[in-house]
Every structure is written in C-alpha cells, then in structure tokens.
Symmetry: C2
Subunit: 343 residues, 2 copies
DNA sequence: CTGAAAGCGCTTACAG
DNA sequence: CTGAAAGCGCTTACAG
C-alpha cells in the first residue's frame, strides 16, 4: 500500500450540485458566470462552492475547454551562465505576477541548446500542455519562428517585432540604448571605444552591434573592435585581456551584460589598468551585481520585472482572442556610476 | 475570427486506431506497454503513432490517470534577491535535467512571502495541477509541513529530514560545512570571528548558527557576534559596517551567502579595512560571483545542479509509489581563494 | 430559467 | 488476444 493514494476521492462539481440540489450543468453555469441560472441559485451555488473549498480540476477543465490555462517558457542557456545572469529570475517573477491574475500557470524548461528548446516546444504543444509560448533569445535566423507559425502556436516574442507582424513582440529600443552609451562616452572625451558583444547568433546582439557602428560613425569614429562572446564571465575576461594587450588599447569598453563587465573590471585590475581613470566600462544590463563590484558599474538599466509583466499581458491578450499587438517597453537608460570617467 | 483556433482538430488516439484498424483500447494498451495486444499489433501501432507524430493529450491522460505528470516548485523570495542569488537557477536546471527523463513538467511560482506560497500550493493541489511538490527554505516552525501532511500531498523537503520521517528530505550537512569554515579560520590563527547569518526564521540558518557556536566553543572561543539578515546585499553591507565599527572588531567574518560576502568586501574597502590582511571573509555559497570580485572569495562550495537532480529523483520515486526515502547530498567543501589569510 | 445528455481524449476493468 | 463500454470531471449546445 502506497503512502499516497492518487485515487482518493476529491471534491467535484457533483458534490456541489448534490448539496445545492441542482444539476451539474447549473453548477457549471453558475461558477462560470454564464446566463441560465437565476441570481438566487447562482449565489447559493457560489457560496456552497466557496464553503466546501471547491476548485476546478485543471485536467477536466482543460479537456473540455481545449485550453490548458498554462503558458510555457523555454530558456536555452547553460545553467552556469543562467545562474549569474540576474535577468531571468526577475523576468520570470514579472511574468508570474501578471499570470497569477488570470490563474494561468507557467511551465518552465531550461535546456542547454536550441535544438532541445524546439523539442520542448513541440512536446508541450503536441501534449497540449500549454496554450501559448514566450520566445526569448531570438536568433537571427531562428528555426522556431517558422515552426510556431506553421503549427499555429500562439506565441509572443521577447524582442523586435517581425516585419510581417504575425506574432506580437515585446521589445525595447536596444539601438537607442547603445547609442546613448556611445554618446555618453564620447561626451566624456573617449574616442577609442570597443564593444564586447553577446552571442553573435542572437538577433539583439546584431541590432546592438549595428547601432554601435552607426553611433560611432556619427561621431566620425571607428570602433577599436567588436568582440563576440557567449555572455560568460570567462569570455568577458578573455575579451578584455585581448583588448588591453593590443597596441591600440581602447580607453572605454561597453559590455553586453553585467557579468562580463564585472569580468572586465577584474581583468583590468589584474593588468594594472585603472578603472575608470585609464579605462571606462559600461555594463549592458543593470542589476545589484553592478553595485557590488568596485568600482561600481555604470550601466544601461531597465525594469526587467515590468518587461516580464508586459510580456505576460501581451500573450494573455492573444490567448483571449485579441489580435496580435506588439508592445514597446521603455528604453533602457544610462545610470552613471563609478566605472566611467572623462578621458 | 481569431487568429488562433483552439478547436482545430488535432491528432488523437482514434486516428491511430482507425489507421491501424483496431480499437482505441488496443492502441492505448500498445502505447502503454500493457499486455493484451500481440507483439505484431503493438509494433505496428507504435510505428504508426510515431510516424503520425502522436503524443498523448496531457489533460485527457491526467483526467484518466488522476495524475498530472507535473510537479511544482514555489519559491518565496523577493524578485530582487532571487535575481542575484545564483543558487535557484542552478537548482532548477538540475531539477529539470532529471524530470525530463520521465517527461514530468515543472510548474514554477515565485511569490514574495510565505502565506502566498501556501496559497499557491493549495491552489495547485485543489486543481490537481501537480502530483507533488518540492519544498524549499523551510522555516523553523513551517506551516506548510502540517498542511502537506494533512492533505496528504506528496512532497520532498530540501533540507534536514524531519524526526518523524514521513516526508523524504534531500539535504547536506550544513553543520559540518560551517564547522569546516570555523576550523579553517582558527587554523589561520583567527580568534575573533563573527557570523552574518541568513533569515533567522529559516531552519538551516538556525542549524548553521548552532554549529557555529559549537565549533567556536570547541576551540574555546566566543563568537564576536552573530547577525541575522535577509540575505540581501544591503543587509550584508549593513551588518559588516556594524561589525567593523564596533570596539571588538572581528578579524574574520563568515557570511551565509555569496551576495552578502561580496557586500562585506565592498564595505571593508570603503572603510579602509584590507581584505584579507585585516579581515578574512568566507562566503557560505559558491558561484561565479565569488570569482568575480576582488579579492576572490573563499567559499563553501557544492554542486547545486546535482542537488536539484537528487531532489527531483527523490520526488519521482515517491510519486511512483516508493517509500519516503531521504537522500544526503555531499557536504559543501571549503574552497580557499584570496579573501582569507593568516591572522 | 432549468435539466438531461453528449463530448473532450484518454485509461482500464470487463466480457467475449 | 481483442472489442465495446464505462469513467475521469468538467463545459456546452440542445430540449423542455
């Protein structure tokens, strides 16, 4: 005999119907606020249900409605990187604050690579575990998009809207943020600026790199270098080492996240390059991490929780039959701290 | 007309039955490896299902089996703290690596406080969304335990096993780890040692504090102080400031996580107290963060992903009818880095 | 306004 | 070895 018996009798709609002396249909109508029951009956049923602590069986409801009341998020990153990247937990917390309002659950999967994220999406969809998906970390030529469209899976993109507009997107103007960072550095007198970018396959990396080149060009400057990385501390350290060892050493470096910027500070110190007096550093993401290091990091800051909440809201609207409608979140703003100084 | 029609016809067991020329019962038996179909029929059905890309509808299956094939994790921490705490994402990644093997999904909820975590648990259970739960951050007198037991909800505790042993636990010997840290510091000649603890309401905080006192006593030493905090950077900074301002300033501080240890380094620097020469620091959690700061942090290190995997395995065993069986994970080991030195 | 019934897509005793 | 049928707990047209 097992300790836990799944077959134990649990409260169902029939118990309420019996107790109220009506049919289960009437109970269902009352509970779902549909016409077909008198107000008196409705309120009696409602109070009985509340009193007995009844809640709908999600599987039964899902089967009838063809709706799981669940959305999925697949994150394709290595666990090590994820760990230090404060972005994701904040984003998830934001998602859930909004999902909770409509009692929608969040299914989460962390996978190491892209093919496996596609597998996860297909599995969830085929099993009808989710009603829709949140798609992050878009690649330049992302195989998930045609898949989602051909399978007609409701999804919201965390990133720039597609030209065809079939899928709603929640995004912020990365190009403007990068431009602000460059302008800020140039304003401080920097002319030799390098960029340590994230994964080159990611679309927003490409957007940022393009914006970096454009902003530099507008000031009549040529970038010292643009180095691609995988967002890890190690890659940030390695890139910084290479940049500082070169003959045309930059006087300022922008990093695509806070973790790499921290690595940059660390390597500079090891090499005896003073931050910010000999080298200015800007972090592309803001988090408590930026205030933990010395010197504290000037960063591009945004409300990541709100970003998550907006994403959830956009997906829920779509799931409730709304037309695909993208949302532009606030642009990250530059928060000057100790890691930047005049050149 | 909505862009997405949930009612679109999807592949079901009937389609396979029709194609194979058998009853849906036979298909179900074949698919689930039960006796009652010949080998020839079974393999034919299997290959048809695979070819058509059929996957069971989770709601239908869940309703029949009274099993959601889903487990839940509720994290009760503020989003801000969670963000910088690398522990959780690693733990989740570990959980999922194991859950994926049995196609069990993970439902995640991040809530700000304890009452709301109880709400989430009750909702999930009442709606039968989960088959079992993972319970973290146990309080000394945790209201969730009696609740889970009275409702007979299968759950695994991430923390010390209860004396009654009704609920399996996955844990590691925190007391031994704290003792190792104290022994290490005393071995370096430190006598004035303080402890900056985590949330005092958490059971493992109390276990560690007790172990700290015991270890100090064994060396014939009295702790300079034990300061309770909420794990945040701010609290770590505040505690460090107070400790360093006091007349009986410690020569070494152990912190209950990496975030606060980082704050400690930062404050010490501000106050002109040299780490490690005037102050040794040990972090109670290890992560890339500990290698990001300067000086790098001596830390108590463990394989958090493995911890998550062991937790998932323990829960799955319970859900499959196994007797509650706790698992002791490896004890954290001290990794000496730059933040500790002889006194 | 109300009730009886079919259906969602599976699993599983129960007859043949 | 196989098939027809009931049941899981809901929702929702369809008659009264």
């Amino acid at each position: 005999m097992s300790t836990y018996d799944r077959r134990v009798k649990r409260l169902t709609i029939s118990d309420i119907a019996e107790r109220a002396g009506v049919s289960i249909g009437a109970v269902s109508f009352a509970l779902n606020g549909r016409p077909g029951v008198s107000e008196a009956t409705r309120s009696r049923i409602l109070s009985i249900a509340a009193e007995m602590g009844w809640r709908p069986n999600a599987a039964a409801r899902g089967l009838s409605e063809s709706r799981a009341h669940t959305v999925g998020l697949v994150i394709a990153r290595s666990a090590d990187t994820l760990g230090v990247e404060p972005f994701f937990m904040k984003f998830i917390a934001g998602l859930e604050s909004e999902l909770a309002l409509t009692r929608t659950a969040l299914l989460l999967q962390v996978v190491p690579d892209h093919p496996r994220s596609i597998e996860a999406i297909c599995d969830w969809w085929a099993e009808r575990r989710v009603d829709g998906l949140i798609v992050m970390d878009l690649w330049a030529d992302d195989a998930r998009l045609p898949l989602l469209e051909s399978m007609r899976i409701p999804a919201v993109l965390v990133g720039r809207p597609r030209p065809d507009g079939g899928m709603p997107a929640v995004w912020s103007d990365d190009a403007a943020a990068v431009t602000e960072a460059v302008d800020f550095l140039v304003g401080l007198g920097h002319q030799r600026i390098a960029r340590v970018a994230g994964l080159p396959a990611l679309e927003h990396t490409q957007v940022r790199t393009a914006a970096f080149h454009a902003a530099m060009a507008r000031h009549g400057l040529a970038p010292v270098a643009v180095v691609d990385t995988d967002y890890t501390w190690a890659a940030g350290a390695e890139a910084t080492r290479a940049l500082l060892a070169a003959a045309d050493r930059p006087t300022a470096i922008t990093f695509d996240n806070d973790v790499m910027a921290t690595a940059g500070v660390s390597v500079a110190r090891q090499l005896g390059v003073g931050v910010p007096h000999e080298l200015s550093i800007i972090a592309g993401d803001d988090s408590q991490l930026c205030e933990m290091v010395f010197p504290t990091l000037t960063a591009l800051s945004r409300d990541v929780q709100a970003y998550g909440a907006h994403t959830a809201r956009t997906l829920l609207r779509l799931l409730n039959g709304g037309a695909p409608q993208s949302f532009q979140d606030a642009t990250a703003r530059l928060v000057p701290r100790e890691s930047t100084a005049p050149c």
